[in-house]
Symmetry: C2
Subunit: 238 residues, 2 copies
């Protein structure tokens, strides 16, 4: 089906590939431990190994894949300690985001956030788990984006991705990690402008996520990389 590769090539090609792989990893289409051979991926995207390698490097610094010398890249499998550190840092990070945002958002931004949550709810009801998880993470990224800070945005993206991966490893299969109600509460507090309270709600929210997580590892059957990527190619042209 998908022969796509619509290039959109103004921004870096490796970035597009990284994005697709990132989504595939977060949605567990590529489970932890999956091998990621450079030429297989390159074939899928019709790109040379140079480009694929760039994408994998990027994902490695994000902590989503692991590089073993001369043995290729695999989807990372964060240890429990790494999971704990990641969440602790993420909470510290998002405290800053929320504190900076409280009381500064315009009505259009509030509306955008509410619309996003509505989307989350729709995905939840339709039972599309993968979509739910992705949208749940994107909510936090959207918040970071609204601070206008490149750094807060970049790190929020990084930590949100890694947390999604961690949750897929350690949390119960059923639990969707980002509660829609909690997101609504965050928006309400941001709109009201009570900074401390907004921070408190965010901390509570992320704390709940940690609570729900860190249960025990589980494993999914390995899919063929070629098949998985074929499905994800459609996402390329966004």
């Amino acid at each position: 089906m998908s022969e796509g590769t619509v290039d959109t090539s103004k921004s870096k090609r490796s970035e597009s590939i990284a994005k697709v792989l990132r989504n595939a990893i977060i949605e567990q289409a590529l489970p932890s431990g999956s091998r990621l051979p450079e030429d297989t991926i390159g074939e899928q995207f019709k790109a040379s190994r140079t480009i694929v390698r760039e994408a994998l490097s990027q994902l490695a610094t994000e902590g989503l894949v692991e590089h073993r010398r001369n043995r290729g890249a695999v989807v990372a499998e964060p240890s429990w300690e790494e999971a704990r550190d990641t969440f602790e840092l993420r909470i510290a990070l998002e405290k800053i985001v929320v504190a900076r945002l409280a009381g500064t958002l315009g009505s259009s931004e509030i509306a955008a956030l509410r619309a996003h949550v509505a989307e989350e709810e729709a995905a939840l009801e339709s039972g599309d788990d993968a979509r739910s998880i992705r949208l749940g993470g994107e909510f936090h990224v959207t918040l970071a984006e609204m601070t206008g800070s490149q750094f807060l945005l970049r790190y929020t993206q990084e930590f949100t991705s890694r947390c999604s991966l961690i949750l897929s490893l350690y949390s119960r299969p059923v639990s969707v990690e980002c509660g829609v109600a909690e997101h609504r509460a965050i928006i309400d507090n941001l709109a009201d402008g009570s900074s401390d309270q907004a921070v408190e709600v965010m901390v509570q929210h992320l704390g709940d996520i940690v609570e729900r997580a860190l249960i025990k590892p589980r494993r999914r059957p390995n899919h063929s990389i070629a098949n998985v990527l074929a499905n994800y190619n459609e996402l390329l042209d966004e």
Copy 2:
């Protein structure tokens, strides 16, 4: 059978190059805005552009260099807003480090920290500014290292480097940014184990640094990259 193979050079050539460039940037041997042509650097290190490119990518994600499409890399010149964000994140990060460390350090670790500060003091008295700046940053990295957390270490390195770059842009020429006395106070509080107080001292310390900084930009004359790197090559085998 095979001998030890202490593959220091094997581990990653691009990492060695990145390290040299990082030091050169932090010590302002390569001022903000300096161009970093791939083949010039490759020639210095006798490495192909592939390797140099890898090193530059690494430094780009660390925020020390900036990539302009088809126009090469230059030493980054963080804006005031980026500077502010970087420091805010760094403080949040190091609060975590100190909180985790308080009361957990063994006497050998305390001794190592004190030895490090002694080195800082020596460098300060000898008037070797570049060395002082580097050692000041390394103190914080050493702390992060002692937590045993890969993530805390990596991000502390990243933020410390970037902060050094920022200070070189915005702070007074004379001020050495990490006060030796303050570092001693941090060690004392870590040894005593009063977590809250240790955190407080660290926040105070980093706050002081910010205070001393953010004055106004200044500029140094551009040195030839080839010359600069020739001087720094000695550091390669460390």
